[in-house]
Subunit: 206 residues, 2 copies
Amino acid sequence: MSPRRTVGNLLGLAVLSYLTQGPMHPYELSRTLRAHGDDRSVKFTHGSVYMVVEQLERAAFVVQHGTSREGHRPERTQYVLTDAGRRELADWMRELVGEPRHEYPGFVTALSFIGALPPAEVVALLHRRLEGLAVLRAEAQAVTDGALAAGLHPLFLIEEEYRIAQLDADAAFTRGFLHRIEGPEGWATAWQAQHDSTDHTGTESH
Amino acid sequence: MSPRRTVGNLLGLAVLSYLTQGPMHPYELSRTLRAHGDDRSVKFTHGSVYMVVEQLERAAFVVQHGTSREGHRPERTQYVLTDAGRRELADWMRELVGEPRHEYPGFVTALSFIGALPPAEVVALLHRRLEGLAVLRAEAQAVTDGALAAGLHPLFLIEEEYRIAQLDADAAFTRGFLHRIEGPEGWATAWQAQHDSTDHTGTESH
DNA sequence: TCTATCATGTAACCAGTTACATGATTTT
DNA sequence: AAAATCATGTAACTGGTTACATGATAGA
């Protein structure tokens, strides 16, 4: 079974989206993405932009539009969107917005093996986590505040708002978890006993 | 700059965790992970288990422990945890729990290009999203209900609880977004105007 | 003019996924 | 005894990341 989409990398979505504005060459895409702060929403590096443009070309979502030259700079290969590319962009967006997918964040994985750490240490770590979450939240807030002050319409900051909502939910969960370890439910004692009996993860050797 | 961890795949964490219980061979790991429902928290396939075990071996977090044979079945290569492996497990867990990381879920990417779709369509998609979120939530709830009824301690279901918290936050955000599009703030009209003027993503062609 | 940084791209390497292979059991 | 499924593993392909290469401009 071939994967649902010929190009699965979300960086491809970003490229398709930018190409609706007109032809660009890969380096320009890379710079523009970074300049617009899209590296907060899409993971990419300089090299991966070239890769994904190649993939989009193989899939016929973009085609070379000729090369342009400016001064004595190297030649640049420009790409334009095809009709198939426009359709792919719209279809992909519809899927991402309309069909929530099961995701695998690292914290979920860690939680499912949380018994590998002793409860006292987990308590300390969860407190550090709360601090880290506050930092991330402040960053997101700073980004939106700055952009709003510069006159950007809040629609273009909606992804940061989503992020803040998720961070707040994460923090609320973390506090709840702490209470259940330390509070009257007393998970700590049973947990410690089971931890002692089942494994020793090398914590004692420095 | 070499990546922070020699083995970065979270499936490696799962393997290290299971190997604290004693030696296993890759196939057994694969079966056990699936039997315990860990495929909800870690993305893996049959083949990737073999790959990650190889990587762990190269990194000296596990070593071959000899082979075992049962009946006339093929020989199986067993692996055991090394001391370095135990330390890596503990250290990795500490990082994942204590240091929240910036993540890149697909919905965030889509939100940052949401202007590519017309507002009326987005409204419809967000309603579909709410249904999908309810389904995912019900699944998570069913998993925990079943396991609790079977007598499992809630500590071992904490990752599902986290998931539910995130799904609820997602749904709350989605409702808020809908209100701002449709409500008195009236994002819809400005949005539609800007959408008409800047791009046409092939929606009109059948 | 030397050095640093920008602009643009390629190549080599490692990770991850999919498909295939083969013998052992179990079912019909 | 044929077919199906389980148990175990390997190989081939594709994707993604990192490092490198090279000419152009700008700053000291």
